[in-house]
C-alpha cells in the first residue's frame, strides 16, 4: 500500500469493513508498526514513540477519545500538555479549535453532558489542537446528526483551504464524493484504485463518460420507481458507489 497526501488536499481512504483503513491510519500515526515500509511526514520517516515529527500529525480516532468527567477545556489542556504545549500558546489554540468546532460557549461543560455530535466535534478539536500539518480522521462522522456532520465538513474544508493535508477514512460514499479531492480505495490491505472521482468513474466498464448530477439522479430514481429503466443509469446509484462495488465485489464483509 502506498499513497501520498499533499498539503491543501483531502484524500479519502475508502474501503469495506476489514479492508485495513483503521490499521493504515494506526500505522501512519505510529500506533502500529508496519510489517514493511515506512511512513514519511514532510519527506522524513517517523522513528519511534518520541519522534517530534509525530507532533506534525493530528489523529481524530473513530470513537470520541475524550475524558467524559472533565470539561472540554480540561480535556484539551491535557492533550495539549502531551504535545508539549503550555502557557499562552496552549490557551490560544484551545480558543481557536473550540471556535472552529462551534464549542467555545460550552468549553466549561463536562463532556458527559455533550450530545454525540458535540463529542465528535470536540474529538476533531483535540486532533487539531497542536496545529498539525497532517490530519488523520478515522470515520469521524459515524452516528453524527446531519447538522454536526455538516459542521465537521465545513471545518475540514476550511482546514484544507488553510493548507492542511487531510487523510479521511470512511465507507460513506457521499462523504467521500463531497469532501475528497482524491480517493484511495483499499481492500484486504491493498490499494485497489486511486484517483479523483472522475478518474475512478472511468474505471467502470462501458461507463466512463460522465456522472449524473443530483437532479438527473433523482429523475432516474423516480422513473425506476415507476418501473421504467434508464439504460446506463443503473437505477440512480451514485457512480462512486458503483466503482466501489465493482472494485471490491458484492460479497458481504463480516470482519469486525
Amino acid at each position: 500500500m502506498s499513497f501520498r497526501v499533499g498539503g491543501g488536499t483531502i484524500v479519502g481512504l475508502l474501503g469495506p469493513n476489514g479492508a485495513g483503513k483503521t490499521t493504515t491510519v494506526s500505522i501512519v500515526c505510529g500506533l502500529v508498526p508496519p510489517d514493511a515500509g515506512e511512513v514519511k511526514v514532510g519527506g522524513v520517516a517517523l522513528s519511534g514513540d518520541t519522534d517530534p515529527a509525530k507532533g506534525r500529525l493530528g489523529l481524530v480516532p473513530q470513537e470520541p477519545a475524550l475524558y467524559e468527567e472533565l470539561t472540554a477545556e480540561d480535556n484539551l489542556r491535557f492533550f495539549g500538555a502531551l504535545q508539549r504545549m503550555e502557557g499562552a500558546r496552549l490557551a490560544s489554540r484551545i480558543d481557536a479549535v473550540l471556535r472552529l468546532t462551534g464549542l467555545l460557549e460550552r468549553r466549561r461543560d463536562r463532556v458527559k453532558v455533550y450530545s454525540g455530535g458535540m463529542k465528535r466535534r470536540l474529538n476533531l478539536a483535540a486532533g487539531l489542537l497542536h496545529d498539525p500539518e497532517v490530519l488523520l480522521l478515522d470515520e469521524p462522522t459515524v452516528g453524527v446528526d446531519p447538522q454536526s456532520r455538516n459542521a465537521i465538513f465545513e471545518s475540514l474544508e476550511a482546514l484544507r483551504d488553510a493548507g492542511k493535508a487531510i487523510l479521511y477514512t470512511t465507507h460513506y460514499m457521499e462523504e467521500a464524493e463531497r469532501l475528497c479531492d482524491r480517493i484511495v480505495i483499499v481492500d484486504r490491505g491493498r490499494v485497489v484504485a486511486e484517483g479523483t472521482k472522475d478518474e475512478l468513474g472511468a474505471l467502470l466498464p462501458g461507463n466512463g463518460a460522465r456522472d449524473l448530477d443530483d437532479e438527473a439522479r433523482a429523475a432516474v430514481a423516480l422513473l425506476a420507481a415507476r418501473g421504467i429503466a434508464v439504460p446506463g443509469a443503473d437505477g440512480g446509484t451514485p457512480r462512486l458507489e458503483k466503482v466501489f462495488l465493482h472494485l471490491t465485489g458484492h460479497a458481504l464483509r463480516d470482519e469486525p
Partner: protein
C-alpha cells in the same frame, strides 16, 4: 410465562458466557471459606498453637529451672531463653507473644510464700497486647507450673526442708504466749517435717508433689509491652493497617481497569499518537495511581488518628515512607493488572480474588500470628504482609525507622520495581 423463561435462559447464557467470571465467582468463596475453616479448626497444624515465649531466668534455682523446663515441655508453647530486656524487645517487635521474667530469689521466695513465711515473689509477664488470647494461655500455664514446682520443692526439696526448719525455729523461739492459730501452724509444720522424712524413706505414698500449700507462692505482674511505658494498646491500629492496604489495592484495581477501558477506546490511540515515550506514559500513570492511593490511605489513617486515637508511637518518617511505598506497590500492581488483563470484566473478577487473597494471607483480616507456623513463613513473600506488619510496627509497637519501617519499605519498593518491569514487558502496546 414463556417470556419470563426466555429471560431466565438468556441471563444464564450471558452469565456463563464469561467463564473467568464464573470461575472467580465460584472459586473465591470456596477459597476464603476453606482458608478460615482451616485456620480455626486446628486440624493438621500442630505447630500452629506453639506460642513463642521468651523466659528470662535470673534466679537459676531448682524451682525456676523446673518452671522453665515445665513451660518448655508444654506442647502449646515454644520456649526460648533470653535476657529480660531482650525478651521485652522481642515482644515489642511482635517476635514473641509473651516474655516471662523470673527474678533473683524467686525459687526460695516461692517456697517461703507457700507457707506464708514471706511475701510472694513477683513474676513479670510481658505480653503483646494484640495477642491477648495467647497471653491468657501463657498466664494460666505459668501459674500451673509455678504452683506445681513451688509445692514440689516445699514438700520435697531442700529449700522446703530448710524453710520448714527455719519457720519452726522462729515459732518455737517466739516468747509471746501461744495462740491456737500459732499452735496449729506449729503442728502442721511438724507434721510436714515428719511427712518429708517418711517420703525420703520411701513410705509416704503419693510422692512429693502433692499440690498442698497454704498460700499462692507468687504474684504476677502483667505488663503489656507497647511502644513505651504509659502507652496503651489501640486495637484500631492493626485493623486500620489491614483495611488501608486492602482498599489501597482496590483503588489499584480501579486504576488498572480504567487503563484497560482507556485502551479499548480511542483515548489510548490519542495518548500513543503524541510524541510520548512508553516509559513516560507508564510512569505517569503509575505515579498518578500512587498519589490517589496515598490520599486513600492517608485519609483512612487520618480518621483513625483523629477519631479513634491511633498514634504513631514509632518513627513518623517511617510511617510516611511505608504509606508511600505501599501506594507505589499498589499502583504498580494496578498497572500489572492492566498489562496482563484482557477485558475489564474478567480482569476485575480475578483482581478482586487476588487482592482478597493478598490481604487475607498478609494478615489484614486476622493477624498473621494465628496462622500455622509454616504459613506465617510462607506469607512473608507477600508485600501485603510486610506493609501491614510495618504499619503495626511504627504505630502502636513504637518501632524506629531502621528496625520497623525500612525493611518493609525495601520489600514494597522491590515489589514495585518487579511489577513495573513485568508490566513493561507484558504490556500490549498495539491492537491491530
Amino acid at each position: 410465562m414463556k417470556q419470563a423463561l426466555a429471560i431466565v435462559v438468556h441471563e444464564l447464557k450471558l452469565f456463563l458466557s464469561d467463564r473467568r467470571s464464573v470461575v472467580v465467582g465460584i472459586v473465591t468463596p470456596i477459597l476464603l471459606a476453606t482458608f478460615f475453616g482451616f485456620l480455626f479448626s486446628g486440624a493438621g497444624r500442630q505447630d500452629a498453637a506453639k506460642i513463642p515465649v521468651l523466659v528470662a531466668d535470673a534466679d537459676d534455682s531448682a524451682v525456676s529451672r523446673a518452671v522453665v523446663a515445665g513451660l518448655a515441655a508444654d506442647a502449646l508453647l515454644s520456649v526460648s531463653p533470653a535476657a529480660a530486656e531482650d525478651a521485652r524487645q522481642a515482644v515489642r517487635r511482635g517476635k514473641a507473644a509473651a516474655g516471662v521474667v523470673l527474678p533473683k530469689g524467686f525459687g526460695e521466695g516461692a517456697v517461703q510464700a507457700f507457707f506464708g513465711a514471706a511475701a510472694a515473689s513477683e513474676i513479670v509477664l510481658l505480653v503483646d497486647p494484640s495477642r491477648a488470647t495467647e497471653a491468657g494461655l501463657v498466664r494460666g500455664l505459668l501459674a500451673e507450673k509455678v504452683f506445681r514446682e513451688a509445692s514440689r520443692e516445699a514438700f520435697g526439696g531442700a529449700t522446703g526442708t530448710k524453710v520448714l526448719e527455719e519457720s519452726l525455729g522462729v515459732l518455737e523461739a517466739d516468747p509471746s504466749p501461744p495462740t491456737p492459730e500459732r499452735q496449729a501452724l506449729k503442728d502442721l509444720l511438724r507434721d510436714v517435717t515428719r511427712w518429708q522424712g517418711a517420703a525420703k524413706g520411701g513410705t509416704a505414698g503419693g510422692g512429693a508433689a502433692g499440690g498442698l500449700g497454704t498460700a499462692v507462692p507468687f504474684t504476677l505482674k502483667e505488663e503489656p509491652v507497647t511502644a513505651r511505658q504509659g502507652v496503651t494498646y489501640n486495637s484500631y491500629a492493626h485493623s486500620f493497617a489491614g483495611m488501608a492496604i486492602q482498599f489501597l489495592l482496590f483503588v489499584a484495581i480501579d486504576f488498572g481497569i480504567a487503563l484497560l477501558l482507556e485502551r479499548q477506546g480511542g483515548l489510548w490511540k490519542r495518548l500513543r499518537s503524541a510524541p510520548l515515550s512508553r516509559s513516560a506514559l507508564l510512569l505517569g500513570k503509575t505515579a498518578a495511581g500512587a498519589l490517589v492511593g496515598l490520599v486513600s490511605v492517608a485519609a483512612t489513617f487520618a480518621f483513625g488518628i483523629v477519631v479513634l486515637g491511633i498514634r504513631i508511637e514509632g518513627s513518623v518518617p517511617g510511617f510516611v515512607l511505608l504509606l508511600l511505598a505501599s501506594a507505589l506497590m499498589a499502583s504498580s500492581f494496578g498497572l500489572l493488572l492492566a498489562a496482563l488483563g484482557r477485558t475489564p470484566g474478567a480482569t476485575r473478577g480475578l483482581a478482586i480474588l487476588a487482592v482478597l487473597l493478598l490481604v487475607m494471607l498478609g494478615g489484614g483480616w486476622v493477624p498473621a500470628f494465628v496462622f500455622p507456623a509454616w504459613l506465617q513463613k510462607v506469607t512473608l513473600v507477600l508485600p501485603t504482609r510486610w506493609a501491614i506488619d510495618g504499619l503495626d510496627a511504627v504505630t502502636w509497637r513504637g518501632a524506629g525507622l531502621a528496625a520497623g519501617a525500612l525493611p518493609a519499605v525495601a520489600v514494597l519498593l522491590g515489589y514495585t520495581v518487579l511489577f513495573l518491569l513485568v508490566a513493561r514487558l507484558r504490556f500490549r502496546w498495539t491492537d491491530r
